[in-house]
């Protein structure tokens, strides 16, 4: 059972409020009509499916209903960080060990994002409700 920190609500909530939505950071070809069948099939169907660090999209279905990203270890199920759409992960398969040493431990024993930079600040702007 996951205890997930929603980066929009800024709170830990139970797994049942969330729904996983597959691999994060997939980029849709800018001009679908001009790509080959191979490229289009790769975009639609082929996934990394790693045993280890995985960046994945979740939706806070029964909460704020916003999509966000989680970096998680698929072998231990440990959630390493959660970050907003448009941001880049600070923990990747390449630097996971370093981050483990330097990261900030959260109350539930996971590791929390430190200073993840928005990839595109416009995507990250909040509209006042």
């Amino acid at each position: 059972m996951f205890h997930i920190f929603c980066p929009y609500c800024q709170e830990y909530r139970e797994e049942e409020e969330f729904h996983p939505s597959g691999q994060a950071h997939l980029i849709r070809p800018a001009d679908p009509a001009s790509v080959s069948d191979e490229e289009w099939g790769d975009y639609l169907f082929f996934r990394d499916n790693p045993r280890g660090i995985h960046h994945e999209m979740w939706v806070h279905r029964l909460g704020c209903r916003k999509f966000f990203n989680i970096t998680r270890d698929t072998a231990t199920y440990e959630i390493l960080e959660t970050y907003r759409m448009g941001e880049q992960p600070s923990i990747t398969a390449a630097n996971a060990e370093v981050r483990r040493e330097q990261g900030v431990q959260t109350a539930d024993g996971g590791w929390q994002t430190v200073g993840a930079q928005p990839e595109n600040s416009r995507l990250n702007e909040e509209t006042p409700s």
Binding site: M1, F2, E15, E16, H19, P20, G22, D37, E38, W40, G41, D42, L44, F45, F46, R47, D48, N49, P50, R51, H54, E56, R72, T74, A75, T76, Y77
Partner: protein, 416 residues
């Protein structure tokens, strides 16, 4: 191999059953084989068995990182059926069902295949349309499927709640009488014993750590017990297929998810058949030992740990109690999770790859057990001839780029 029979039982009783032969040898790896199968689960062992028995390839090794049949073969709900919608899938699963019928005799090993039938319930008008469409498609493919009414369902399975006051009233079902269940461990052990007797080396506790590839042709594998050479390598590694593919520099359209199942305390006989429902989303049968064998959906996130989340168990049991209110106070005994390699179209991949001599048999997702003999048979034929068997050919990995998908989400019975 000493054959099992009534006579052998009596003979061994005289020596207090202390002199039974071991099921299989535990050989040291040879330097070279003709064919290497990576993965010693049901499908891998079946492939090795049929390679040796029907295609004359006895210089074969099965490489398994743990013990034989310790993965999904030991972690499923043992349902065998062939009521799939599309011609390609129906042929594959029906080929398998045909082999199931004679499997115990063929292997000289009791796999306890019991053709007790399977009900696929419909709870809405759209469900009924889907059931009728699938039954019609099945009958065109020679599969003994039929549509049954709630009254007929009650006769088949009296414990089901068919009342109008149910939250999701049952409007009908498809009924495949020749479907059933089998003893999952016995399937792995039977194939292993049969393959071993025909000269196949079963290498347990041997983990493949890489492939030896030169000029686009595979010529062996690296393992933790040294390098082993072979010019034909078949990977049958279920949830770990993606990890193997990465070693060979390939990518697969698979996602590995935990799929949980659970069994109750043993009860007196109460269920006659296998009952599945896509709409309330659960399936249940009763084993010969008496426990209810229960399964439902996958955990939605990627996971290689052989466990899942509690909410999934809760939803599973909600579905079972919706169908069988009388089970509300039955206690659950054990729960487990397998890693299923789900494909975008809920059909398997039986395919050549860009690497010559390297074949993959994977993507069976949530429903691979029923296909164990059929998958092994057609994959063995493909490995032996170097050309995909006609039944296996439509399941090429190319379909994800050409668009010739075989969408079996409706017949798969497990949402993913």
């Amino acid at each position: 191999m000493q054959r099992y029979s009534g006579f052998s039982l009596v003979k061994h009783a005289l020596s207090h059953h202390e002199n039974w032969q071991r099921h299989w040898r535990n050989p040291a790896p040879k330097k070279r084989y003709d064919v290497i199968i990576v993965g010693g689960g049901g499908h891998g062992l079946a492939t090795a068995y049929y390679l040796a028995k029907e295609f004359g390839a006895t210089n074969v090794a099965v490489i398994e990182k743990g013990w034989l049949g310790g993965g999904n073969t030991a972690r499923n709900t043992t349902i065998v059926r062939s009521n799939y919608l599309w011609d390609e899938a129906a042929q594959l699963y029906n080929h398998s069902l045909d082999l199931w019928k004679g499997l115990s005799q063929d292997l000289n090993y009791n796999v306890m295949f019991s053709q007790r039938g399977v009900l696929n319930l419909a709870h809405t008008l759209q469900d009924m349309r889907d059931v009728q469409r699938r039954v019609n498609a099945n009958r065109l493919n020679g599969i003994d499927s039929e549509v049954v009414t709630p009254e007929q369902i009650k006769e088949i399975e009296p414990a089901l709640d068919i009342s109008k006051s149910a939250r999701y009233p049952i409007m009908g079902a498809s009924w495949q009488k020749s479907a059933g269940v089998a003893r999952h461990d016995a399937v792995a052990w039977g194939f292993a014993r049969g393959a071993d007797a025909l000269g196949v080396d079963l290498l347990q506790n041997t983990e493949v750590t890489g492939f030896k590839i030169r000029d686009g042709q595979v010529y062996g594998v690296h393992t933790n017990r040294g390098d082993i050479e072979a010019h034909t390598v078949g990977c049958v590694a279920a949830g770990n297929s993606g990890v193997l593919a990465k070693m060979a520099g390939l990518k697969l359209p698979l996602e590995s998810h935990p799929l949980q199942a659970l069994v109750s305390e043993p009860l007196k006989p109460i269920l006659n058949t296998v009952t599945m429902s896509n709409h309330v989303h659960g399936y249940v049968s009763q084993s010969d030992k008496g426990d209810l064998v229960i399964g439902a959906g996958i955990d939605g996130y990627l996971g290689y740990g052989q466990r899942g989340s509690f909410p999934t168990i809760e939803h599973t049991l909600q579905a079972i109690v919706e169908m069988f209110p009388m089970f509300s106070r039955v206690r659950m005994n054990r729960q487990w999770g397998g890693i299923v390699d789900t494909c975008p179209d809920a059909c398997p991949i039986l395919s050549k790859t860009k690497v010559k001599g390297l074949y993959f048999n994977c993507g069976w997702g949530t429903g691979g057990f029923k296909a164990t003999p059929g998958s092994g048979h057609v994959f063995a034929a493909s490995l032996a001839k170097g050309e995909m068997h006609p039944i296996a050919a439509p399941f090429s990995i190319d379909r994800f780029n050409t668009g010739a998908l075989i969408d079996e989400h409706g017949a798969a019975g497990v949402a993913h």
